[in-house]
Symmetry: C2
Subunit: 533 residues, 2 copies
């Protein structure tokens, strides 16, 4: 036996988020981040210059009293200044607490109180909301009004709270402090889940979890960005990190195109063509708006190759229409705030793609189907079950809570119902809490919605339960018809015959001019239940 | 101020190598690993079954006395059994010590002694070498002769050392032990650098470094494998982990095609067409052999889209010929054992690709040009300097050594000379130790080799220094002409005129029928210096 020798070692390399912007600044320094204001105005900056401004901001944030581990409140649309805030904050260990401007002031104030935000950075057009929040939130000491392209707006009057113009703050307080020096498990982000179901819960992203989410997301079969891509991030940065694109864009050296709050079809068509957008990400309704605009006004989007859709399942007819009208491949996906958010993605080049399929998990995400009690189904393929997840970027414990959010084996219960086919393709079939119990048996609204949603006349569909003295609950079908289209009840219910059990057929059809949406853009079933349940 | 709340946490997820085969087994379980024997014989197995056999092997290796942290000696070609050994070993923390069968028994014995190998797994056709090694290596207690497709071979007689047939070992000692449970910084691999320059040094790969190397390598602009790829790994697994493909293949769910020791043009052409190979990786001489075979015998390789070349720079004429003849994109790259090995890669879809360019570093690798004293060049673009590297999978300290192998700022000196253009493309211009000092000034053989190597008549080229009483050293040009081609000294030297300083022109031209190659397939400059220097 030889004497044991020291085993050798590889270099230390902390998985921190400054790596992404450092890499982009050094190897793709001239590649741009473009921000759209209204009316075709844009600002642009290269990654090298953006990194330099983010470093300046780090010193400015510290001068306002923020330290590593403190939460910076961010109430902002997708913009260059918002990205500078992210990298400026996380570079010195400050945590980005993203807030959804579409929530009510009371909701936001509760989140700000829980996070203990002392500094709030806001988009210029949200100054009024910021003013209201400073009245509700005693913790807030500074409001920073971000620089975004567009007409100058007056600063809000926030009383004793000091209000800064972003560029003034940079000029007066900016200093290039050194980044890093903290543990990769330090928190980097805080995002409260949206309030459609129960009390919002905060998910704390760490540097390590966001780094690993990024490299897993960047695999060719998931997002697969390249340095030749121009990526339109039409998913808000306050919605699960903008699906991670403000990280994966610079990590891959891709150009980022940020639409601000201008997500209407006309603005997006202009932006896509002007910036040569190749990949776009956002919920289906955004792309529906783009296709409607092109149909009305004419025009094409020849540079666009791929559109990633998540947030909610997309009807087959809409997917087919978008692929034809935009000349793109639609990449369906599934995720949630608690997953950072990527759970599964359909491969961009798969030959037979179905709208109902959400694809397979990338490396770093694992899935398990269980029964209602959390017991794993003995057969994991071609069965429906409750979907549980484990992974490098999946929540373990919510912000402010002592108990873990996972079961004894480390699985997080998503609350979704799903099936997985023999090839590993995941289909989200519904939400466990949306299930309707009729005569002691379960009805899955998701299956009814998938069939009705595939009808060409139907723009949006939802099925909710209505209390019933005899059966306990009975399903009600709510639809929003396509512009100028109509469809009779018989046709709607006829589409379901022989495809779902006869006792699943809804007792009533309700037509709404516009489906009520929650702040994240998803259908607001809580409100539908209140109105029609 | 609110009371600080617990910050929340994401799930623990150790970056260990069993993740790759677990992911492949669960989500790409039927995707195959194909091994070629001679004469068109192949064996194949799906990832699910391969994982099961690897788990069985884990118990068998433990039964032979191997424990976490011990090194398993592997002297084998690329095959299914070799992959099972890798995953079976690392799953329980055993370290894969890969050995190059083309090294001399004395070299190998020194490495085995340093690693303290008690078990040696060998390819069947290397049984004689194994027999010789057991005589030289008192630490070895067991020899396992791997199962590989081809005619049955007799077991070697290793005296007191117990010799196992692989399948017998699995059947008699196999048991499905649980994987994991060790730290992600635990060692996973050991690879000694090849012995062309000085004493071989062992690089210890860790689970974490190989995991991060894999996800960085899998970015779309580097290797970008997908689940629809069929990947021919024509780079030996004993050469810097087969460039990482036995990890990145299952991580992406790609099919792996392992050629065993059959790397001749005829075998590769057959294998590529039979297995629908889309991506291939290996040194240039392997693909030259394939192109020569197709030229002689006719035939095409229509499925093949991309060939990744590393190990040494490729002449432009050869790259052009390979792209035309094979109908592929040649992806140049640069790496070394100490980098796990990926340093830079040309993007697969870049519009203007030059053979001399090795591409850009992926996220996770950073580069610095310094002068001979290690002082960073003030200007990092369009200057030649010594290339230093930092990264997640770069050596910090060699096996058995107490001192680190990096400078005070954490940079590893590659010993390569390089320049980087404005777009970030790296060109390796030579080896610092190959520089020739003539009249007190430096001559870079790499620049001369690049120009002469671009001549269509030249297959291989090397410039070495010869001692000179007046100038100290003078360059000698050694060439191997292409099959059936010849070129006069005047034409060779004429190509250099006005492109290098006149005093760089070699004093003599030497023609060799075949360039001497080191065990890794690179030109053996040590031998050239001995013969002609």
């Amino acid at each position: 036996m030889t004497t044991p020798l020291p085993a050798g070692a590889m270099q230390p390399y902390a998985l921190t988020l400054d790596r992404f912007i450092d890499h982009a600044a050094k190897w793709h320094g001239a590649t741009e981040v473009v921000t759209a204001g209204g009316g075709g105005i844009t600002t642009r900056i290269g990654y090298a210059a953006l990194r330099d401004r983010a470093r300046l901001l780090s010193g400015a944030l510290q001068s306002l009293g923020l330290r590593a581990g403190d939460n910076l409140g961010l109430l902002a649309w997708n913009s260059q200044a918002h990205m500078e805030c992210w990298y400026g904050a996380v570079g010195v260990g400050i945590v980005c607490h993203t807030l959804n401007p579409r929530l009510s002031p009371a909701h936001l104030a509760a989140m700000i109180a829980q996070a203990g935000n002392r500094v709030l950075a806001v988009s210029p057009d949200l100054a009024e909301l910021a003013q209201a929040l400073t009245g509700l939130c005693p913790s807030v000491e500074h409001v920073v009004v971000l620089a975004e392209p567009g007409p100058a707006t007056p600063l809000p009057d926030c009383g004793a709270v000091r209000v800064w113009r972003y560029e003034d703050l940079l000029a007066m307080r900016g200093s290039r402090v050194t980044w890093g020096g903290f543990d990769e498990n330090a928190p980097a982000g805080l995002c409260f889940t949206s309030g459609t179901t129960g009390a919002p819960k905060g998910v704390t992203y760490t540097h390590r979890s966001n780094y690993l989410h990024t490299v897993h997301q960047l695999q060719a079969d998931a997002c697969g960005l390249t340095a030749r891509d121009s990526v339109l991030v039409a998913v808000p940065m306050f919605h699960a990190n903008g699906w991670g694109f403000p990280f994966s864009g610079p990590a891959a050296g891709a150009k980022l195109v940020l639409p601000g709050r201008h997500q209407d079809g006309a603005s997006l068509a202009h932006l896509i063509n002007r910036e040569g957008v190749t990949v776009a990400a956002g919920v289906a309704t955004v792309w529906l708006g783009l296709a409607d605009h092109l149909d009305r006004m004419g025009g094409e989007t020849p540079s666009l190759q791929r559109v990633m859709i998540g947030g909610a399942s997309v009807p087959q007819a809409l997917m087919d229409r978008l692929e034809r009208r935009l000349g793109v491949v639609i990449q369906t996906s599934w995720g949630m705030t608690e997953l950072s958010p990527l759970g599964t993605a359909a491969t961009p080049t798969a030959l037979s793609r179905k709208a109902s399929h959400s694809g397979r998990p990338p490396l770093g995400v694992d899935l398990l189907l269980t029964d209602a009690d959390g017991v794993p189904l003995p057969e994991q393929r071609d069965r429906e079950g409750r979907l549980r997840v484990r992974g490098a970027a999946v929540v373990q414990r919510y912000f402010g809570q002592d108990e873990v959010a996972v079961d004894a084996d480390g699985w997080f219960d998503t609350g979704d119902l799903a099936s997985i086919d023999a090839q590993g393709n995941v289909t989200i079939t519904g939400r466990a809490k949306d299930l309707i119990k009729s005569g002691g048996e379960w009805i899955n609204p998701g299956e009814i919605e998938a069939i009705v949603g595939a009808l060409p006349e139907v723009a949006q569909v939802a099925v909710v339960g209505r209390a019933d003295p005899k059966w306990g609950e009975r399903p009600v079908l709510v639809i929003e018809a396509c512009q100028g289209a109509d469809i009779a009840d018989e046709a709607l219910l006829g589409a379901l015959k022989n495809r779902v059990p006869s006792w699943w057929l809804p007792d009533e059809v309700v037509r709404v001019p516009a489906m009520p949406l929650a702040a994240t853009g998803k259908i607001d079933k809580t409100r539908l239940r209140a109105d029609y349940g």
